[in-house]
């Protein structure tokens, strides 16, 4: 039963990673850049929700929506101001700019909200005050946060699959990630599509931020960094640029991390996660679901 417990918390943590990894993978697929500031958008989302709910007494759902709105706008503004002028620049220049944006967001948060840790409110409590359900006579306890996280992750997965496969905008996104030049010639507004991608990725980051802080309720300006790096790892793990890959990578990473913590060592869990990543990349150099592109000679 403890195994099942670990598995469920692994899937839950993995779901959060998956949602963050989506932002990385979509932006990478379309703009071919590693958006290192993505982790900090999570943090911004969590702060917005925190202040909306605990200072302005908004209902949790309104807080989440507000956080999503703010992050969506933030993502689009950052793309417009910092990344768009660098569309023709070498990828390293874009990477450094993204790092600059990351520093900027962290330090802005530090100034606005100070370095004192905020205790994130628990949203997922039933009317009777329960925080979870107990099964098998109390042997298996699943918190509502866990359930909701997994559920939301599935909903997002389905919605995105529908969006990229069926809608005009989604198809435009896939076309742009395949070949921007050709997409432009076919009448697709590449700038708008990239902007849209950032918007979706950042909106998802806000959800991830709220979920992350509901599960691990300490909020500081650097909250987003480590989950950001892990989710980035997850995106690569699954094959960067691939949406199902981001889900698979995120889930596996979460499960591996929890199992490593439980069965190997808490302190070395990160090392185990990264070691697994290295092994996977050696066997599948483009990640689990990524496709290897052969250079034309």
């Amino acid at each position: 039963m403890t195994f099942l417990n670990f598995l469920i918390s692994g899937i839950s943590l993995g779901s959060i990673y998956a949602i963050i990894a989506l932002g990385y993978t979509m932006v990478y697929g379309i703009a071919k850049m590693l958006n290192f500031a993505h982790g900090d958008v999570i943090m911004v989302g969590a702060y917005i929700c925190f202040y909306a709910v605990s200072r302005f007494d908004l209902p949790p759902l309104a807080g989440v929506i507000l956080a999503m709105l703010v992050c969506t706008v933030l993502g689009m503004v950052v793309e417009r101001l910092a990344y768009k002028p660098l569309r023709q620049a070498p990828s390293l220049a874009v990477l450094i700019t993204a790092i600059g944006v990351s520093y900027f967001l962290q330090n802005m948060a530090l100034l606005l909200w100070s370095s004192n840790p905020k205790v994130f409110p628990g949203f997922f409590v039933s009317a009777s005050g329960d925080t979870g359900v107990e099964l098998f006579g109390g042997e298996l306890k699943i918190s509502y946060v866990t359930l909701f996280t997994i559920l939301i992750c599935i909903v997002i997965m389905l919605a995105l699959t529908w969006f990229t496969g069926r809608t005009k905008m989604g198809k435009a996104m896939r076309a742009c990630s395949e070949d921007k030049g050709a997409a432009q010639l076919m009448g697709i507004n590449v700038d708008a599509t990239i902007s849209m991608t950032f918007a979706i990725g950042s909106g998802l980051a806000a959800i991830a931020g709220v979920l992350l802080c509901s599960a691990y309720p300490t909020l500081v300006p650097t909250t987003g960094s480590m989950p950001g790096i892990k989710a980035f790892t997850a995106a690569v793990f699954g094959g960067i640029g691939s949406i199902p890959g981001a889900f698979l990578g995120g889930l596996l990473l979460g499960i591996i991390e929890i199992f490593a913590k439980a069965y190997i060592s808490t302190q070395l869990s990160d090392a185990v996660v990264f070691a697994v990543l290295i092994i996977v990349l050696l066997v599948k150099p483009a990640g689990l679901l990524g496709k290897q592109i052969r250079e034309k000679v």
């Binding site: 990478y28 590693l34 910092a82 002028p85 660098l86 023709q88 620049a89 070498p90 390293l92 220049a93 990477l95 450094i96 700019t97 790092i99 600059g100 944006v101 520093y103 900027f104 962290q106 330090n107 802005m108 530090l110 100034l111 790096i229 980035f232 790892t233 690569v236 960067i240 060592s265 302190q267 070395l268 990160d270 090392a271 990264f274 070691a275 990543l277 290295i278 990349l281 050696l282 150099p285 483009a286 990640g287 250079e295 000679v297």
Partner: protein, 350 residues
């Protein structure tokens, strides 16, 4: 030797040596005249360490053309092994400069070993996948040093992982104490040692780049398939660049660590790797003088921004973004391009 006349690259390399020596002499003179603030004085050794970090990373990123996000891992390797050597030899070798030199060599050797072991899997990958694996190795090295316990007693070195089970004999002492790192380090790093290390690193890199190895490494960067087709041993040369880069970073780590009384593994994290990468990109890929200037300037900048107190890191971030936007602005680029005599013919390679 007439055939090997002084070309543009060679002149540039000599200029770099000259400027570094000049900077050292000026700072020494100012220092002895008491014209340098104590805060700057305290930063001289870290600046030297960061310069060596930047030029060694530039060998990987600028010359070999592979993005590494885990350079701090090698620095960490060099710091911990170098300091351990220095502490273990404290009684055997009383002369601090000699102990310092040995510590730097030990740090470089272990970092080179780590570079070689990591290089075997890493160099089989390409592009962003290579980058993420270097990041992963950097994090793994950090995790290991965070959980490593090393002690020395009359029977030699003892090691354990996760918890302290070294069981040292009477009179033994614990050198590396897991997350507490290494404490009680004798601060034997000096500005002169730092200057010598910078010069050695420059000589190694310049001479390597201006030999058959450097040509082959840059050929691999410019076109791997063509390099293979003319018989260049890709694996060998990639490894050579990667290991050299790691070794120099290891020496820098040992220098850096012996400037402080305590050193912990978390000091050499992902952010440190990124910091050094920023030096390299701002200084220009493959441009060693640029790396030196960027490393020195950006290490001093946060100090210089102290008057902005709380805002200094914010200003730093904004400066970083603006510099990247300005240096990659097509209009500005073509404007400044006109003043560069070397680029008068031909278009910039993409």
């Amino acid at each position: 030797m007439k055939s090997l006349k002084l070309n543009k690259t060679t002149r540039r390399n000599y200029l770099t040596y000259l400027l570094v020596i000049l900077a050292y002499v000026i700072l020494q003179v100012l220092g002895s005249a008491g014209a340098i603030s104590s805060s700057l004085k305290g930063m001289l050794v870290p600046i030297c360490a960061y310069i060596v970090m930047a030029i060694s990373l530039n060998l990987t990123v600028g010359v070999l053309g592979e993005l590494s996000l885990g350079h701090a891992g090698f620095m960490s390797m060099g710091a911990f092994t170098g300091v351990t050597a220095a502490i273990a030899l404290q009684d055997a070798i009383p002369a601090a400069p000699l102990r310092m030199a040995i510590a730097l060599l030990v740090g470089a050797a272990f970092a080179a070993l780590a570079g070689f072991l990591i290089g075997i899997p890493v160099l089989r990958l390409n592009g962003d996948y290579l980058a993420i694996v270097t990041l992963a190795f950097g994090e793994i090295i950090k995790s290991i040093f965070n959980n490593l316990y090393v002690g020395v007693d009359s029977k030699g070195l003892h090691m354990s992982l996760l918890s302290d089970t070294t069981n040292l004999a009477e009179g033994g002492k614990l050198i590396i104490a897991g997350p507490m790192g290494i404490g009680g380090i004798q601060k034997i790093s000096t500005f002169t040692a730092g200057f010598i290390l910078v010069m050695v690193a420059l000589i190694v890199i310049f001479n390597l780049v201006n030999s058959r190895a450097g040509r082959a490494i840059m050929a691999i960067r410019d076109n791997r398939i063509a390099a293979e087709s003319v018989g260049v041993n890709i694996t060998k040369y990639k490894m050579m660049a990667f290991v050299t880069s790691a070794a120099l970073a290891g020496a820098a780590g040992a220098l850096f660590a012996m400037n402080y009384s305590t050193i912990v593994a978390n000091k050499f994290d992902f952010n440190t790797s990124i910091l050094v990468l920023v030096f390299v990109v701002l200084g220009g890929l493959g441009n060693m003088l640029g790396s030196i200037v960027a490393a020195a300037a950006l290490t001093i900048l946060p100090e210089a921004l102290r008057q902005f107190s709380d805002y200094r890191m914010l200003v730093y971030a904004i400066v970083l973004i603006l510099v990247m936007l300005a240096t990659n602005n097509p209009t500005l680029k073509s404007f400044f391009g006109r003043f560069k005599p070397g680029k008068s013919h031909g278009k910039e390679a993409a």
